[in-house]
């Protein structure tokens, strides 16, 4: 038993001292965190900068009623609606009256104005309006700034004296929509904002991706360590010192410890980000525990598969190529992401959850995205645990039989014979 502990300790320390591990544990979450903070900051900046841009209007027809614009500035809800209109600009605009086109153009050049609208003399007959704006604006936006606000002001000015104020309001704002979404579990609720929408998908996606990443970083080390020991012949010295089972379990648990540390750090980061409102993700203790359980079982499953791959493959390059097939299959639920999002408890989601190689990723995503039926959790975890046990056990037998075989690649019947032999 002590020997296993020494091997666990060594493998753990070797793994956590690798540069790649440090990068994955510290730098990757920091980048994700920074990315989240930058988005959050940008959104808040966007919120605070609303209303600060200004457009100028030169009215050569004397049709525009600038009082309506002034009223909007006073933050009266109805007036704001008059200016904002139903097809509102993404940003609020302050409207300023200009009498001289050249002065307005100068202000556009100096950045005081985002755009200058010139309502031409024959506007009523032709609808002709010129707009002056900087070249760069077209590239980034593709739409004239404050156009909706300007058009709303025009509509209001044209109809102001001809219809009742109620009619005017309905012309300017024909609908005040209350959007209701039929969501998960058929619950009806208000439609989430863009930020929330992005989060409710990306956070579970990010979590499941990062946990699978943790699994494959550590099983990758396991593969590398096994192949290296075989390649540089240390394995015979090790097998003369400890049993094959002790060596294998020491490696699996040592590198598993490194993976678990990574997982705990990632989950802590996600939990903290969630509690500070940076991301929207359901990480109640039950879901945290289940996510860890699926990650650990998934790690053991792939640890067994990758160790056997390393021992059979012999050379690091060849083994890595074969191992990439396992990674490919494990990541395959991402192909069905749109189906998983649309129907997280549907048939495809359930099939992917019950197939052990795709279960970890699918279940971690589903658990953090929706309420998963208990039966699905039990079947998925049960099958995964059984497969993980079988994988490590078969791998131990292959390890014993093939760790000292060099040069000759075993046949499939041989591999099956090793798995049957004790």
């Amino acid at each position: 038993m002590k020997q296993i502990l020494y091997i666990i300790r060594r493998e753990f320390l070797m793994a956590v001292n690798r540069k790649a591990y440090v990068v994955s544990v510290v730098v990757v979450p920091l980048i994700i965190l920074l990315f989240g903070l930058v988005i959050k900051y940008s959104v808040s900046q966007y919120e605070t900068t609303k209303g600060q841009a200004t457009i100028g209007i030169v009215d050569q027809t004397q049709l525009v009623d600038f009082k309506l614009a002034e009223e909007a500035q006073q933050q009266s809800e109805e007036s704001e609606a008059l200016i904002a209109g139903s097809d509102a600009d993404k940003q609020k605009y302050k409207i300023e009256r200009y009498d001289d086109v050249d002065v307005g153009i100068d202000d556009v050049k100096q950045g005081k104005l985002t755009a200058l609208y010139v309502v031409e003399n024959d506007y009523l007959q032709t609808g002709k309006v010129r707009v002056y704006l900087k070249e760069s604006w077209r590239i980034t936006s593709g739409k004239s700034p404050g156009l909706a606000s300007f058009q709303t002001l025009l509509r209001s000015s044209l109809l102001e004296s001809k219809v009742t104020s109620e009619t005017l309001n309905r012309v300017v704002t024909p609908t005040k929509l209350e959007e209701l979404a039929i969501g998960k579990n058929d619950a009806i609720g208000p439609v989430q904002g863009k930020w929330q929408k992005m989060n409710s998908f990306f956070a579970p996606f990010g979590l499941s991706f990062i946990l699978i990443l943790a699994i494959f970083i550590s099983t990758g080390y396991l593969l590398q360590s096994t192949v290296e020991e075989k390649e540089n012949r240390v394995i015979e010295v090790m097998l003369s010192t400890v049993t094959p089972d002790q060596l294998l379990w020491g490696k699996v648990l040592g590198l598993g410890g490194a993976a678990l540390l990574q997982v705990v750090l990632y989950l802590t980061l996600f939990t903290l980000s969630s509690s500070y409102g940076l991301i929207t993700i359901d990480l109640r203790p039950k879901i945290l525990v289940l996510s860890i359980a699926f990650t650990v079982a998934g790690y053991l499953l792939f640890a067994g598969l990758l160790t056997a791959t390393g021992i059979i493959g012999g050379k690091l390059r060849e083994s890595s190529q074969v191992a990439s097939v396992w990674t490919f299959v494990a990541m395959s639920p991402f192909w069905f992401l749109s189906i998983l999002v649309d129907s997280p408890n549907g048939t495809v989601a359930r099939i992917l959850s019950f197939f052990p190689l795709t279960a970890p990723l699918t279940m971690i995503f589903r658990l953090s995205f929706t309420a998963v039926p208990a039966i699905d959790i039990v079947i998925s975890l049960g099958l995964l645990v059984i497969s993980a046990y079988a994988s490590v056990r078969a791998s131990a037998r292959i390890f014993r039989a093939a760790s000292l075989l060099y040069g000759k690649r075993p046949t499939v019947p041989e591999i099956f014979r090793w798995m049957r032999e004790a």
């Binding site: 060594r10 012949r233 240390v234 015979e236 010295v237 097998l239 003369s240 010192t241 400890v242 000292l404």
Partner: protein, 299 residues
Amino acid sequence: MRDVVVALSNVVKSFNSVVAVNDVSFSVQRGETFGLLGPNGAGKTTLIRMIMDILRPDSGTVEVLGHRMEAKDKRLIGYLPEERGLYARQKVLSMLEYLALLRGLSREQGRSSALSWLERLGMLEVRDKKISELSKGNQQKVQLIATLVADPEIIILDEPFSGLDPINMRTVSNLMRELVAAGKTIFLSAHQMSVVETLCQRVFMINRGKGVLYGEIDEIKKQYSDNAVLVKSTADYDRCSLVSKHISHNGSRKVYLNNGGDQRNFLAWLVSVGADVESFERSTTPLEDIFIKVVEEKA
């Protein structure tokens, strides 16, 4: 009779359809240097791996210290494999400490033992170097220390002299003598017959998976001797009825006796004819010749 520390009985091991070891039996006694001989591919390493419980026999039994090897017994055996291998990126002392820990020593004991061996083999200055930074000879010596660091009772050395220069070969030979004098048992597999002849008391020779020679070296040499004596004397050997032929041999005459001719009777004849005898010794066949003869006979 001394204790038996390793015993193989009717051991068979096959890899697919190839029988690597076929019905092999022998035993190794405590405190002796036992030689395992055989041409390349004869099955020596497979035998050693079965003793180490790295491989399991298809049939037959392998006993170490009176029972089938268990995990705890591994610490009592030091094994130097033919294919050397250590963690190249690890430092010498740290690697040796790790192996000592795995073999049941405490951290302090492991460190102290490793340092003592490094000093004994004149390698103390490389303790903080990475294994990959060492010369091949020094890597060999570190590997030998790794075998001995936990003070094992049985020491299995598979080709310990390969890659060593004559000075280091002598160092290792002397070390082996010291270890046996200290009560250790050495199981030696080597190609250098002259070294085996000087170090081992008993040998087992395997060829194509089957045992072909087993026993004390002196007895084997006697068994393969050509009933000849090396004599330096003034006698006329043609006049002796016991002699079948005689040839010149390194300044002496090699005198072949007839079938059943007793060497003591030949010595008595020399005395009886009043010959002046400068030297008289039994002619023995070198182990190497026996090795080649046996291998060729069985081919």
